[in-house]
Amino acid sequence: MGEAGRGRVTTLRRWTGRLALPLGFALTLAVLLAIFYYPVGSVLVEAVVRGGRLTVAPLLDVLADPFYTGAAHSLFTDPAGVPAGVLAWVRAGFSPVEFGLFGFTAYQALLSTLASVVVGLPGAYLLARYEFRGRRALRSLTILPFVLPSIMVAVGFLAMFGQTGVLNDVLGWLGLGEVNLLFSLEAIVLAHAFYNAPLVTRLVTAAWETVDARRVETARALGASPLRAFRDVVAPQLLPALLTAALLTFVFTFLSFPIVLALGGLRLATVEVWLYARVQDLALAEAATLGAIETTLSLGLTYLYLRYEARQTSMRGGGASRPRQAFIQGWRTLRDPVRVGLGIYGIPVLILFVGPLASMILESVTGPNGGLTTAYYEFLVRQQAATGAGTVKPLPAITNSLTFGLGTLVLAVPMGIVVSVVAVRGGAGSRLAETIMTAPLAVSGVVVGLGLLQTLVFGTEILGHRIVVSGAVAVVAAHAVAAYPFVTRNVTPALSGLDSRLLDAARSLGASRFRVLVDIELPLIAAAVLAGSAFAFAISIGEFDTTVLLAEGVNSYTMPVALERYIGNRSLGPSLGPATAMGTVLLAVTAASFLVIERLGGRWEP
């Protein structure tokens, strides 16, 4: 190759370097538009358009209905009468107030968030500050609840916390009275904590591990007590992660749907449960209105949070993290109140997390009369060998799940990083852009599903051709849209914590923004990228609603879809056995994949 040739290659490389980020941004936006904004928009439009005209009447109808908004409905029916009403209420001695469906939904979300933080925080402390056998495996497994289809979790909860469940057996054995948890608010809150406390643990652990050891040491050297050093140095760095986790938990549990259906019943219905019922009844306009209100609320929260987060990011990274202490120190372990406390904390955590999963596994090998059986696994083998039409086989489900998971990784990780770069760049509008690109987190699954159905699945007429998006590509794109915000939420804090002088130096030496990202920033924040990747993979494995919508039958069903189909399979009697067996397989496959992901990435860990 001559001089000129080499020059051309360099120019090409420089150009790709320059164009890579804008191109990535454009592609991300295009995928979002096609798979998310267009379908969701088509639903929300129904909320504000009647007979081709823009109107707020449907919104007002919902807001003014005491069933939805409780006492607050008079804000919309009789705004002038509100002060008098409040006064009357104060005079009456603050009698209990009805808050309607929205109020109840927010209330249970608040309780669920509190529970998740209370359960999750000590775990983060343990994982970040102590060394013990299996710590890394445990840290990897904190993502596991995330992938479990809620139906499986519900079954586990029934088996664990039910009237005749394992917990009551143990309590009875200890001579304690039995508890009756199911179909109550407590059960819903516990199940939400099961899903979200690990999220709290995971995000806070990651933040805790990046706390710069030197700054803590400096504080201590200057005479600060350990408590004070924690308050002044460590806590401010944990707060953003904690708030991220709490906000995510709140939004998720505000949009909670299958768990409430399975463990609470209609008496504890949330907005999303109601929205789903309206969709089932094809009252789509009312469903769209509810969806619009719900989406506005959660998007608003997301926006407020992102603004807060932007102000909070402080200098991080660069320094060494503090060494972890050994958790077990022989007999002395029992004299340390913190260690003893953490040990005691482990008991309810075991009951809450291991209990339902263990119960599910137990159920998969236990016959209706309590004896051991392999019938449910034999069922899986028979399904695999079956030739009947419409048979859902386990092996294709496993390979599809893994393939889609990898496909999601390939798509979601770059998307997530692109959005992070936008977020970190700062400047006017970047918060708004980030909110717009983070929206998939805050939009209810039912709304997305409905939108996809009416647009891509049925097809859209363009120039006389019906464009139908379905099959594996559509599934992967949808999974990526659901998953990349988690990559972003992991990467953004790490990226913004990097020392900007490093980057400035590189830029001033002529590196493009893309080069800086690839050569300098990403290697420094590999742990965060990896954590985000694990999330993306998890979301893909556990996703059900959209998959079932987009999957082309035999060719693209996944493990959760197979699991759901086995629940309806009555060849072994109306038992959940086949589903628990498939659930156990799902559990094994996903647990193994996460261990692999994290082990592969382990070499980057400090």
């Binding site: 179909f183 749907f257 449960v273 789903y276 049925f458 379905s470 099959g471 079932v548 039958g553």
Partner: protein, 402 residues
């Protein structure tokens, strides 16, 4: 349970490549099948984007210009009936050892050159209502598994007819039990029925005799039912309570029932699972419960059938022919086949429901364990039309707001 049961367009590919023109009307005897159709019906079925490239080629009859071979022999001479029949149904109707799969093999054995393909959309008939609204192709010939209130929904949501009337044009349609003929317009033909009843554990509770007795304090917290918004047995139980309590009294009744601690779960599966886990000693279920559960080491005390007020609510499952069916002749053959005595016995046993046709005895075992209520009750189509939506919503608001 029922995680967002959304739509699934199971990969039936493109059905019926050979289309028979001139068959859209009634079965007008021979001849008309001669001119095999071409494009007009087929346009628009293909998705682009390559995703639909799976157009399964099995069972289709070669080139387009020629007519499909006529293979009848069993029924009186009518147009030809070969090709692919696409049957839309619910997912548990298909798969290994199900009524659907038996029907497929038996029908294909009887009519050579035919293939039965199933599609099982997650949201059932809503899929086709929405497709019709959006102008998307229907891609199916017959729907199997409609109940009365779904038929009402179809009519209320659409201006044009989604299903065509087959009425008395079907052989053996007149043998269907009178109590199950729910559709005055003759679109929906019942093929089996369940009777909603209580299933209770006689070791735990005395059998409640009436709806009123469920309000007694001795039954506090003892009943599990399902959400009438989305569950068949749950809706049937609500409708049954409206029959006994009256349109003006049912909400009062339910307010008291909620006060007495009734659990309203999402669907039959979780409700029954909770019942099996001893969460409560009574559950709303089907009177065929014992057909499923009897056995040497089963405690039958837990599978007692209770007919409140000596009644049971009939929930017939019906089939209907899409107006846009690409293969209406074959579809009619299929529906007739479903009503034959042999098929009725097989469906009853495999789907654990009662036959819809008079005088069919599926098996001795079935006869022994399937309980029929002394007085079957059900709302007719006309009674449900216009009311069922309001009834269910008022009920749901009452329960959710409690």
């Amino acid at each position: 349970m029922q995680r967002r049961r959304f739509i699934r367009r199971a990969g039936a590919g493109v059905a019926g490549l050979t289309l028979l023109a001139g068959c859209t009307g009634s079965n007008d005897g021979g001849g008309s099948g001669q001119n095999a159709s071409n494009s007009s019906n087929a346009s628009g079925t293909d998705g682009s984007e390559g995703a639909n490239g799976t157009a399964s080629g099995n069972g289709t009859t070669g080139g387009s210009g020629t007519n499909a071979t006529n293979e009848t022999g069993t029924t009186t001479g009518s147009a030809s009936s070969s090709g692919t029949l696409t049957v839309a149904t619910y997912s548990s109707f298909t798969g290994e050892d199900t009524a659907g799969n038996w029907l497929k093999s038996a029908f294909e054995a009887e009519y050579a050159d035919t293939t039965v393909e199933f599609v099982t959309p997650e949201n059932g008939v809503n899929q086709y209502i929405q497709r019709a609204k959006q102008g998307a192709p229907i891609d199916a010939d017959v729907y199997v598994g409609l109940n009365t209130s779904e038929l009402v929904r179809v009519s209320q949501q659409l201006d044009s007819a989604l299903f065509q009337s087959v009425g008395d044009g079907l052989d053996r349609a007149d043998t269907v039990k009178d109590s199950l003929r729910v559709d005055p317009k003759g679109r929906a033909i019942p093929y089996d029925t369940g009777y909603i009843s209580l299933v209770y554990n006689e070791e735990e509770v005395q059998e409640p005799q009436t709806f009123e007795s469920l309000l007694e304090s001795r039954y506090e917290g003892d009943l599990i039912t399902q959400n009438a918004q989305q569950s068949d047995p749950g809706r049937a139980f609500l409708l049954w309570s409206i029959i006994t309590q009256g349109e003006d009294g049912y909400l009062d009744y339910w307010e008291q029932l909620v006060g007495n601690g009734v659990n309203v779960l999402s669907d039959w599966e979780p409700a029954y699972q909770a019942y099996m886990d001893d969460e409560a000693p009574m559950v709303v279920s089907y009177s065929t419960d014992q057909v499923f559960y009897h056995g040497p080491d089963v405690n039958m005390a837990k599978h007692q059938i209770g007919f409140l007020n000596d009644q049971g609510y009939a929930n017939p499952e019906t089939m209907a022919l899409f107006s846009d069916a690409e293969n209406p002749d074959l579809a009619r053959r299929f529906m007739e086949f479903v009503l034959t005595e042999n098929a009725q016995s097989k469906i009853a046993v495999k789907n654990v429901q009662f036959p819809a046709v008079e005088g069919v005895t599926p098996s001795e075992e079935f006869a022994k364990y399937a309980k029929e209520p002394p007085e079957p009750v059900t709302f007719s189509y006309d009674e449900l039309a216009g009311s069922v939506g309001t009834w269910v919503e008022e009920w749901a608001r009452l329960v959710a707001g409690a």
